[in-house]
């Protein structure tokens, strides 16, 4: 499973959850869902793009 697909699944789960929890009207729910979903996905892609020039560090220690 690709990293991007997992991120999209995660963003979908969270966005739908918060849209149902915080809004009551269907139109408002859709609005919040779209804002959160694209905020998470696009935000993560932009952040990744900004970090791209930085060199990666040593491998993470195994917990």
């Amino acid at each position: 499973m690709s990293h991007f697909l997992l991120m999209v699944v995660y963003a979908t789960l969270l966005s739908v959850f918060f849209a149902v929890l915080w809004r009551r009207e269907p139109k408002e729910r859709w609005k919040l869902f779209l804002q959160m979903f694209f905020g998470l996905v696009v935000g993560a892609v932009v952040l990744a793009w900004l970090m791209y020039p930085f060199p990666s560090g040593p491998p993470a220690p195994i917990p």
Partner: protein
């Protein structure tokens, strides 16, 4: 209409004018409809049930469709985490972040303890989805914690 006349109308319980400005910091549609509060013992039972079973508190307070949705949604998130063989955190001495992570995951209630103690699930470190799955599992717990707060708000009459 003058300010004094509008105030007099409000006191009589008549509807305000359509074009009357909203109070500062409030927009149309911001108001949350309220429900009558329930007894304190029922409210406490509801939040305990909400923690133990996702959606349980909503069910107790008579919000069946939302209860079903929350139950399915939290368990789906948890199930995806397990499918990815994500880490099911447990207390580690001397690691405050791990403790926080564990408390977050424990928010799922019974499903968390069933996975840990009954199914013996721990996660698979060698799986590529280990880290991602862990994020799903902790998120499921945090979602359920928010549901506990939502249950409380409904029980005390702050939300419908």
């Amino acid at each position: 209409m003058s300010k004094s006349k509008r105030g007099a109308k409000k006191e009589r319980g008549e509807p305000a004018e359509k074009n009357a400005p909203e109070p500062a910091g409030k927009e149309a549609g911001d108001e949350v409809p309220q429900a009558p509060p329930v007894a304190m013992s029922r409210a406490v039972t509801a939040i305990v049930l909400a923690w133990l079973v996702p959606g349980g508190g909503h069910l107790l307070l008579g919000r069946l469709p939302r209860a079903v949705f929350y139950f399915v949604w939290v368990l789906l998130t948890l199930a995806i985490g397990c499918y990815l063989h994500g880490l099911l955190p447990w207390m580690l001495h001397g690691s405050p972040l791990q403790v926080l992570k564990t408390l977050g995951a424990m928010g799922s209630g019974i499903p968390f303890f069933a996975l840990k103690l009954v199914a013996g699930y721990h996660g698979d470190l060698s799986s590529p989805g280990f880290e991602y799955g862990g994020a799903f599992i902790v998120s499921a717990g945090l979602m359920n914690m928010l549901l506990v707060l939502d249950t409380w708000d409904i029980a005390v009459g702050r939300k419908t």
